[in-house]
Protein backbone atom coordinates (compact mmCIF):
# COMPACT_ATOMS: atom_id res chain seq x y z
CA UNK A 1 0.00 0.00 0.00
CA UNK A 2 2.01 2.94 -1.24
CA UNK A 3 0.62 5.72 -3.28
CA UNK A 4 -2.43 3.97 -4.55
CA UNK A 5 -5.35 6.17 -5.28
CA UNK A 6 -7.68 6.75 -2.34
CA UNK A 7 -11.28 7.72 -2.66
CA UNK A 8 -11.83 11.20 -1.26
CA UNK A 9 -15.24 12.03 0.17
CA UNK A 10 -16.68 15.25 1.56
CA UNK A 11 -19.56 14.82 3.98
CA UNK A 12 -21.65 17.99 4.03
CA UNK A 13 -24.52 19.33 6.13
CA UNK A 14 -26.03 22.48 4.66
CA UNK A 15 -28.27 24.81 6.63
CA UNK A 16 -29.38 24.52 10.23
CA UNK A 17 -29.98 20.78 10.54
CA UNK A 18 -28.50 19.78 13.88
CA UNK A 19 -28.70 15.99 13.58
CA UNK A 20 -25.10 14.99 13.20
CA UNK A 21 -24.99 11.38 14.23
CA UNK A 22 -25.55 9.95 10.76
CA UNK A 23 -22.78 12.09 9.33
CA UNK A 24 -20.40 11.12 12.13
CA UNK A 25 -21.21 7.44 11.72
CA UNK A 26 -20.54 7.66 8.01
CA UNK A 27 -17.32 9.59 8.62
CA UNK A 28 -15.69 6.91 10.73
CA UNK A 29 -17.09 4.04 8.69
CA UNK A 30 -15.71 5.37 5.43
CA UNK A 31 -12.35 5.88 7.08
CA UNK A 32 -12.45 2.28 8.21
CA UNK A 33 -13.08 1.34 4.60
CA UNK A 34 -9.85 3.00 3.51
CA UNK A 35 -11.25 6.29 2.21
CA UNK A 36 -10.04 9.79 2.97
CA UNK A 37 -12.97 11.69 4.41
CA UNK A 38 -13.53 15.35 5.15
CA UNK A 39 -16.46 16.56 7.22
CA UNK A 40 -17.03 20.27 7.13
CA UNK A 41 -19.41 20.35 10.10
CA UNK A 42 -22.90 21.73 10.52
CA UNK A 43 -24.22 25.13 9.45
CA UNK A 44 -22.56 25.13 6.03
CA UNK A 45 -23.60 27.28 3.08
CA UNK A 46 -23.90 25.73 -0.40
CA UNK A 47 -21.04 27.96 -1.59
CA UNK A 48 -18.87 26.88 1.31
CA UNK A 49 -19.45 23.21 0.54
CA UNK A 50 -18.76 23.66 -3.15
CA UNK A 51 -15.55 25.59 -2.49
CA UNK A 52 -14.32 23.03 -0.01
CA UNK A 53 -15.08 20.13 -2.35
CA UNK A 54 -13.42 21.85 -5.29
CA UNK A 55 -10.31 22.80 -3.31
CA UNK A 56 -9.94 19.35 -1.83
CA UNK A 57 -10.42 17.57 -5.16
CA UNK A 58 -12.89 15.15 -3.66
CA UNK A 59 -14.48 12.46 -5.77
CA UNK A 60 -17.90 12.75 -4.22
CA UNK A 61 -19.93 14.95 -1.88
CA UNK A 62 -22.25 13.11 0.50
CA UNK A 63 -25.08 15.42 1.55
CA UNK A 64 -26.69 14.62 4.89
CA UNK A 65 -29.95 16.20 5.98
CA UNK A 66 -32.88 15.28 8.22
CA UNK A 67 -35.19 18.21 7.62
CA UNK A 68 -36.56 16.95 4.31
CA UNK A 69 -34.71 19.62 2.35
CA UNK A 70 -32.35 17.43 0.35
CA UNK A 71 -33.66 18.39 -3.11
CA UNK A 72 -33.34 22.10 -2.32
CA UNK A 73 -29.88 21.63 -0.84
CA UNK A 74 -28.67 19.50 -3.74
CA UNK A 75 -29.89 22.05 -6.24
CA UNK A 76 -28.02 24.91 -4.60
CA UNK A 77 -24.81 22.90 -4.16
CA UNK A 78 -24.92 21.82 -7.81
CA UNK A 79 -25.36 25.45 -8.86
CA UNK A 80 -22.34 26.47 -6.80
CA UNK A 81 -20.23 23.64 -8.18
CA UNK A 82 -21.11 24.78 -11.67
CA UNK A 83 -19.90 28.32 -10.89
CA UNK A 84 -16.56 26.87 -9.88
CA UNK A 85 -16.27 24.66 -12.93
CA UNK A 86 -16.27 21.61 -10.67
CA UNK A 87 -19.18 19.69 -12.14
CA UNK A 88 -17.07 16.56 -12.33
CA UNK A 89 -17.54 16.11 -8.58
CA UNK A 90 -20.33 13.62 -7.94
CA UNK A 91 -23.15 14.05 -5.46
CA UNK A 92 -25.00 11.60 -3.27
CA UNK A 93 -27.58 12.15 -0.56
CA UNK A 94 -28.75 10.56 2.67
CA UNK A 95 -31.24 11.32 5.42
CA UNK A 96 -34.94 12.12 5.47
CA UNK A 97 -36.26 11.34 1.99
CA UNK A 98 -39.66 10.73 0.47
CA UNK A 99 -40.02 8.72 -2.75
CA UNK A 100 -40.84 12.02 -4.45
CA UNK A 101 -37.58 13.53 -3.20
CA UNK A 102 -35.66 10.55 -4.57
CA UNK A 103 -37.13 11.10 -8.02
CA UNK A 104 -36.24 14.80 -7.95
CA UNK A 105 -32.72 14.06 -6.82
CA UNK A 106 -32.13 11.42 -9.46
CA UNK A 107 -33.27 13.87 -12.11
CA UNK A 108 -30.55 16.22 -10.92
CA UNK A 109 -27.98 13.48 -11.17
CA UNK A 110 -27.74 12.88 -7.43
CA UNK A 111 -27.36 9.21 -6.63
CA UNK A 112 -27.58 6.99 -3.59
CA UNK A 113 -30.38 8.77 -1.77
CA UNK A 114 -30.38 6.56 1.30
CA UNK A 115 -32.80 6.73 4.19
CA UNK A 116 -31.82 6.37 7.85
CA UNK A 117 -30.81 2.87 8.83
CA UNK A 118 -29.39 1.95 5.43
CA UNK A 119 -26.68 -0.66 6.01
CA UNK A 120 -23.24 0.86 5.68
CA UNK A 121 -22.00 -1.71 3.21
CA UNK A 122 -24.67 -0.59 0.75
CA UNK A 123 -23.40 2.98 0.95
CA UNK A 124 -19.77 1.93 0.66
CA UNK A 125 -20.44 -0.25 -2.36
CA UNK A 126 -22.31 2.57 -3.99
CA UNK A 127 -19.41 4.99 -3.53
CA UNK A 128 -16.90 2.46 -4.83
CA UNK A 129 -19.07 1.81 -7.84
CA UNK A 130 -19.60 5.37 -8.79
CA UNK A 131 -16.24 7.12 -8.43
Amino acid sequence: MNNERKIRVLIAKVGCDIHERGALTLLTSLRDEGMEVIYTGRYQTPAGVAHAAASEDVDIIALSDHTGSLPIIAESVLAELKKLGAEDIKLMAGGLLTPHDVKDLEKMGVTGNYGPGTPLEVIVDHIRGIV
Partner: protein, 318 residues
Protein backbone atom coordinates in the same frame (compact mmCIF):
# COMPACT_ATOMS: atom_id res chain seq x y z
CA UNK B 1 -12.02 35.57 -8.16
CA UNK B 2 -14.18 33.06 -9.93
CA UNK B 3 -11.58 32.72 -12.65
CA UNK B 4 -9.51 30.88 -10.12
CA UNK B 5 -11.94 28.06 -10.45
CA UNK B 6 -12.42 28.05 -14.18
CA UNK B 7 -13.33 24.59 -15.34
CA UNK B 8 -10.56 22.04 -15.42
CA UNK B 9 -10.92 19.17 -17.89
CA UNK B 10 -11.92 15.81 -16.44
CA UNK B 11 -8.83 13.84 -17.27
CA UNK B 12 -6.42 16.60 -18.06
CA UNK B 13 -3.14 16.12 -19.76
CA UNK B 14 -0.21 17.09 -17.64
CA UNK B 15 0.55 20.11 -19.80
CA UNK B 16 -2.97 21.35 -19.22
CA UNK B 17 -2.47 21.09 -15.51
CA UNK B 18 0.78 22.96 -15.69
CA UNK B 19 -1.00 25.60 -17.69
CA UNK B 20 -3.75 25.82 -15.12
CA UNK B 21 -1.25 26.34 -12.35
CA UNK B 22 0.38 29.05 -14.38
CA UNK B 23 -2.92 30.84 -14.72
CA UNK B 24 -3.56 30.34 -11.00
CA UNK B 25 -6.52 28.05 -11.38
CA UNK B 26 -7.40 26.31 -8.12
CA UNK B 27 -8.75 23.18 -9.73
CA UNK B 28 -5.49 22.80 -11.56
CA UNK B 29 -3.55 23.09 -8.34
CA UNK B 30 -5.64 20.62 -6.42
CA UNK B 31 -5.62 18.11 -9.24
CA UNK B 32 -1.88 18.47 -9.45
CA UNK B 33 -1.64 17.67 -5.77
CA UNK B 34 -3.79 14.59 -6.31
CA UNK B 35 -1.49 13.45 -9.08
CA UNK B 36 1.60 13.68 -6.89
CA UNK B 37 -0.26 12.13 -3.97
CA UNK B 38 -1.25 9.15 -6.05
CA UNK B 39 2.03 8.82 -7.91
CA UNK B 40 0.17 9.46 -11.12
CA UNK B 41 1.42 9.79 -14.62
CA UNK B 42 3.26 12.98 -15.38
CA UNK B 43 4.11 13.58 -11.75
CA UNK B 44 7.74 14.21 -12.51
CA UNK B 45 7.01 16.70 -15.26
CA UNK B 46 4.69 18.54 -12.92
CA UNK B 47 7.21 18.72 -10.15
CA UNK B 48 10.11 19.69 -12.35
CA UNK B 49 8.07 22.48 -13.85
CA UNK B 50 6.96 23.62 -10.40
CA UNK B 51 10.48 23.59 -9.09
CA UNK B 52 11.72 25.77 -11.88
CA UNK B 53 8.83 28.15 -11.57
CA UNK B 54 8.86 28.32 -7.77
CA UNK B 55 8.69 31.75 -6.27
CA UNK B 56 11.07 32.68 -3.50
CA UNK B 57 8.90 35.62 -2.54
CA UNK B 58 6.65 33.42 -0.49
CA UNK B 59 7.14 32.84 3.16
CA UNK B 60 6.64 29.26 4.30
CA UNK B 61 5.65 28.60 7.89
CA UNK B 62 5.46 25.23 9.59
CA UNK B 63 3.21 24.79 12.61
CA UNK B 64 3.98 21.89 14.83
CA UNK B 65 2.93 20.73 18.26
CA UNK B 66 1.06 17.96 20.00
CA UNK B 67 -2.51 17.14 19.00
CA UNK B 68 -4.85 19.20 21.14
CA UNK B 69 -2.52 22.18 21.31
CA UNK B 70 -4.89 24.09 19.02
CA UNK B 71 -2.86 24.24 15.83
CA UNK B 72 -5.85 24.49 13.50
CA UNK B 73 -7.52 27.18 15.57
CA UNK B 74 -4.30 29.15 15.71
CA UNK B 75 -3.72 28.80 11.99
CA UNK B 76 -7.28 29.96 11.39
CA UNK B 77 -6.54 33.17 13.30
CA UNK B 78 -3.22 33.63 11.52
CA UNK B 79 -4.94 33.29 8.13
CA UNK B 80 -7.43 35.94 9.19
CA UNK B 81 -4.67 38.37 10.02
CA UNK B 82 -2.76 37.77 6.82
CA UNK B 83 -5.93 38.26 4.82
CA UNK B 84 -6.58 41.54 6.57
CA UNK B 85 -3.26 42.82 5.22
CA UNK B 86 -4.05 41.53 1.76
CA UNK B 87 -1.83 38.43 1.62
CA UNK B 88 -2.89 35.25 -0.17
CA UNK B 89 -2.51 32.09 1.88
CA UNK B 90 -2.08 28.43 0.95
CA UNK B 91 -2.45 25.80 3.68
CA UNK B 92 -1.32 22.18 3.69
CA UNK B 93 -3.11 20.38 6.54
CA UNK B 94 -1.89 16.90 7.35
CA UNK B 95 -3.81 14.26 9.29
CA UNK B 96 -2.83 10.70 10.13
CA UNK B 97 -3.68 7.75 7.93
CA UNK B 98 -5.11 4.83 9.88
CA UNK B 99 -2.54 2.05 9.90
CA UNK B 100 -5.36 -0.49 9.93
CA UNK B 101 -7.57 0.61 7.13
CA UNK B 102 -5.42 3.01 5.14
CA UNK B 103 -8.18 5.59 5.34
CA UNK B 104 -8.18 8.91 7.15
CA UNK B 105 -10.42 11.51 8.70
CA UNK B 106 -9.12 14.85 7.50
CA UNK B 107 -10.38 17.08 10.26
CA UNK B 108 -8.27 20.24 10.22
CA UNK B 109 -10.35 22.10 7.69
CA UNK B 110 -13.40 22.27 9.90
CA UNK B 111 -11.65 24.74 12.21
CA UNK B 112 -10.70 27.02 9.35
CA UNK B 113 -14.09 27.17 7.69
CA UNK B 114 -14.58 30.90 7.95
CA UNK B 115 -12.19 31.06 4.99
CA UNK B 116 -14.10 28.53 2.88
CA UNK B 117 -15.29 30.96 0.24
CA UNK B 118 -12.37 33.39 0.35
CA UNK B 119 -10.64 33.21 -3.04
CA UNK B 120 -7.41 34.36 -1.41
CA UNK B 121 -7.18 31.24 0.77
CA UNK B 122 -6.54 27.68 -0.38
CA UNK B 123 -6.69 24.79 2.09
CA UNK B 124 -5.81 21.26 1.06
CA UNK B 125 -6.00 18.37 3.47
CA UNK B 126 -3.52 15.53 3.06
CA UNK B 127 -3.45 12.18 4.74
CA UNK B 128 -0.01 11.17 5.91
CA UNK B 129 -0.38 7.91 3.97
CA UNK B 130 2.50 5.61 4.72
CA UNK B 131 5.22 8.12 5.33
CA UNK B 132 8.56 6.51 6.02
CA UNK B 133 8.87 8.65 9.05
CA UNK B 134 8.92 12.37 8.80
CA UNK B 135 7.07 14.51 6.34
CA UNK B 136 5.26 12.57 3.66
CA UNK B 137 6.39 12.89 0.08
CA UNK B 138 3.09 14.37 -0.87
CA UNK B 139 3.55 17.19 1.62
CA UNK B 140 6.99 18.03 0.30
CA UNK B 141 5.83 17.94 -3.28
CA UNK B 142 2.72 19.93 -2.50
CA UNK B 143 5.03 22.64 -1.18
CA UNK B 144 6.69 22.82 -4.60
CA UNK B 145 3.32 23.23 -6.25
CA UNK B 146 2.19 25.87 -3.76
CA UNK B 147 5.34 27.85 -4.44
CA UNK B 148 4.72 27.61 -8.16
CA UNK B 149 1.26 28.98 -7.44
CA UNK B 150 2.93 31.97 -5.76
CA UNK B 151 0.93 32.31 -2.58
CA UNK B 152 2.28 35.08 -0.38
CA UNK B 153 2.16 32.84 2.67
CA UNK B 154 2.30 29.06 2.76
CA UNK B 155 1.39 27.26 5.96
CA UNK B 156 2.11 23.63 6.70
CA UNK B 157 0.23 22.09 9.59
CA UNK B 158 1.93 18.88 10.65
CA UNK B 159 0.59 15.86 12.41
CA UNK B 160 2.22 16.71 15.65
CA UNK B 161 3.50 13.26 16.36
CA UNK B 162 6.53 11.33 15.33
CA UNK B 163 9.34 12.45 13.21
CA UNK B 164 7.47 14.88 11.01
CA UNK B 165 7.64 17.64 13.58
CA UNK B 166 11.39 17.74 13.34
CA UNK B 167 11.36 17.17 9.62
CA UNK B 168 9.14 20.09 8.73
CA UNK B 169 11.81 22.52 9.92
CA UNK B 170 14.00 21.54 7.00
CA UNK B 171 11.38 22.48 4.47
CA UNK B 172 9.99 25.78 5.71
CA UNK B 173 11.38 29.23 6.39
CA UNK B 174 9.91 29.60 9.85
CA UNK B 175 9.09 26.79 12.28
CA UNK B 176 6.53 27.56 14.95
CA UNK B 177 6.32 25.13 17.84
CA UNK B 178 3.03 25.18 19.70
CA UNK B 179 2.92 24.30 23.37
CA UNK B 180 -0.04 24.19 25.68
CA UNK B 181 -0.12 24.38 29.49
CA UNK B 182 -1.22 21.29 31.32
CA UNK B 183 -0.36 18.77 28.62
CA UNK B 184 2.55 17.09 30.33
CA UNK B 185 4.78 20.04 29.61
CA UNK B 186 8.01 18.28 30.35
CA UNK B 187 7.16 15.59 27.89
CA UNK B 188 6.39 18.07 25.16
CA UNK B 189 9.64 19.85 25.70
CA UNK B 190 11.80 16.81 26.22
CA UNK B 191 10.93 15.39 22.86
CA UNK B 192 14.13 14.93 20.97
CA UNK B 193 14.87 17.84 18.76
CA UNK B 194 11.78 19.89 19.39
CA UNK B 195 13.52 22.65 21.28
CA UNK B 196 16.23 22.86 18.64
CA UNK B 197 14.06 23.31 15.61
CA UNK B 198 11.82 26.05 16.90
CA UNK B 199 12.18 29.49 15.39
CA UNK B 200 9.26 30.68 17.50
CA UNK B 201 7.54 29.21 20.53
CA UNK B 202 3.84 29.82 20.89
CA UNK B 203 2.15 29.10 24.17
CA UNK B 204 -1.49 28.73 23.24
CA UNK B 205 -4.48 28.64 25.62
CA UNK B 206 -2.49 31.10 27.69
CA UNK B 207 -5.44 31.76 29.94
CA UNK B 208 -5.13 28.25 31.36
CA UNK B 209 -3.58 27.50 34.72
CA UNK B 210 0.08 26.68 34.27
CA UNK B 211 0.64 29.09 31.40
CA UNK B 212 3.03 31.28 33.37
CA UNK B 213 4.94 28.30 34.60
CA UNK B 214 5.31 26.91 31.10
CA UNK B 215 6.39 30.29 29.73
CA UNK B 216 9.11 30.42 32.37
CA UNK B 217 10.26 26.89 31.64
CA UNK B 218 10.57 27.61 27.96
CA UNK B 219 12.26 30.91 28.66
CA UNK B 220 14.85 29.21 30.85
CA UNK B 221 15.63 26.67 28.18
CA UNK B 222 15.88 29.35 25.54
CA UNK B 223 18.38 31.35 27.64
CA UNK B 224 20.90 28.62 27.03
CA UNK B 225 21.26 29.81 23.46
CA UNK B 226 23.36 32.77 22.41
CA UNK B 227 21.31 35.95 22.47
CA UNK B 228 20.97 36.47 18.74
CA UNK B 229 19.68 32.93 18.27
CA UNK B 230 17.02 32.90 20.94
CA UNK B 231 13.58 32.09 19.56
CA UNK B 232 10.89 34.50 20.73
CA UNK B 233 8.10 33.20 22.97
CA UNK B 234 4.61 34.39 22.08
CA UNK B 235 1.56 33.87 24.30
CA UNK B 236 -1.75 33.42 22.50
CA UNK B 237 -5.36 32.57 23.12
CA UNK B 238 -6.20 31.50 19.59
CA UNK B 239 -9.95 31.12 19.94
CA UNK B 240 -10.15 34.68 21.25
CA UNK B 241 -7.83 36.07 18.59
CA UNK B 242 -5.38 37.24 21.26
CA UNK B 243 -1.64 37.43 20.69
CA UNK B 244 -1.90 36.77 16.97
CA UNK B 245 -0.44 40.11 15.92
CA UNK B 246 2.60 39.43 18.05
CA UNK B 247 2.97 36.08 16.36
CA UNK B 248 2.82 37.58 12.90
CA UNK B 249 5.43 40.14 13.89
CA UNK B 250 7.68 37.40 15.22
CA UNK B 251 7.27 35.46 12.00
CA UNK B 252 8.19 38.47 9.87
CA UNK B 253 11.17 39.25 12.09
CA UNK B 254 12.39 35.65 11.96
CA UNK B 255 12.18 35.63 8.20
CA UNK B 256 14.21 38.80 7.95
CA UNK B 257 16.77 37.52 10.39
CA UNK B 258 17.29 34.24 8.58
CA UNK B 259 17.42 35.57 5.03
CA UNK B 260 21.24 35.84 5.10
CA UNK B 261 21.44 32.17 6.09
CA UNK B 262 18.91 31.05 3.63
CA UNK B 263 21.37 29.66 1.13
CA UNK B 264 22.81 27.29 3.65
CA UNK B 265 19.39 26.19 4.67
CA UNK B 266 18.40 25.77 1.07
CA UNK B 267 21.42 23.61 0.48
CA UNK B 268 20.40 21.42 3.42
CA UNK B 269 16.90 21.18 2.07
CA UNK B 270 17.99 20.13 -1.39
CA UNK B 271 20.26 17.56 0.21
CA UNK B 272 17.39 16.25 2.29
CA UNK B 273 15.01 16.21 -0.62
CA UNK B 274 17.23 14.29 -2.93
CA UNK B 275 17.90 11.81 -0.18
CA UNK B 276 14.27 11.35 0.78
CA UNK B 277 13.08 11.05 -2.81
CA UNK B 278 15.64 8.38 -3.53
CA UNK B 279 14.79 6.56 -0.31
CA UNK B 280 11.06 6.69 -1.03
CA UNK B 281 11.65 5.22 -4.42
CA UNK B 282 13.87 2.55 -2.94
CA UNK B 283 11.22 1.79 -0.35
CA UNK B 284 8.62 1.24 -3.02
CA UNK B 285 10.92 -0.95 -4.97
CA UNK B 286 11.84 -3.04 -1.98
CA UNK B 287 8.18 -3.52 -1.12
CA UNK B 288 7.59 -4.99 -4.56
CA UNK B 289 9.86 -7.89 -3.81
CA UNK B 290 9.56 -8.25 -0.10
CA UNK B 291 6.72 -10.74 0.17
CA UNK B 292 8.40 -13.06 -2.27
CA UNK B 293 11.67 -12.93 -0.37
CA UNK B 294 9.93 -13.56 2.92
CA UNK B 295 8.47 -16.74 1.49
CA UNK B 296 11.88 -17.92 0.40
CA UNK B 297 13.33 -17.37 3.87
CA UNK B 298 10.38 -19.13 5.50
CA UNK B 299 10.74 -22.11 3.23
CA UNK B 300 14.28 -22.21 4.56
CA UNK B 301 16.07 -21.96 1.30
CA UNK B 302 17.95 -18.76 2.21
CA UNK B 303 18.72 -16.46 5.16
CA UNK B 304 17.33 -12.92 5.53
CA UNK B 305 20.76 -11.44 4.79
CA UNK B 306 20.98 -13.41 1.58
CA UNK B 307 17.44 -12.34 0.71
CA UNK B 308 18.32 -8.67 1.11
CA UNK B 309 21.31 -9.11 -1.18
CA UNK B 310 19.03 -10.55 -3.82
CA UNK B 311 16.68 -7.59 -3.79
CA UNK B 312 19.28 -4.97 -4.57
CA UNK B 313 19.93 -5.85 -8.21
CA UNK B 314 16.18 -6.00 -8.82
CA UNK B 315 15.64 -2.36 -8.05
CA UNK B 316 14.57 -0.40 -11.05
CA UNK B 317 16.00 3.00 -11.55
CA UNK B 318 13.04 4.53 -13.30
Amino acid sequence: MQEHFKRAPETPHIDEIIGLIQSRNIRGLTKAISIVENDGEGKEDLLNDAFNRGSSACITIGFTGAPGAGKSTLINAVIRHYRQIGKTVGVIAVDPTSPFSGGAVLGDRIRMQEHNTDPGVFIRSLASRKALGGLSEATKFALYLYKAFAFDVIIVETLGVGQDEIDVAKYVDVTVVLLVPGYGDNIQMAKAGIMEIADIFVINKSDRPGADLLTNQVSNTVQLKPENERPPIVNTIADRDEGIENLIEAITATRERTVPHSEEKYRQRVNEEIRSTVLSHLNREVNRHLDGMVEEVLSSSITPIEASKRILPLIRTN
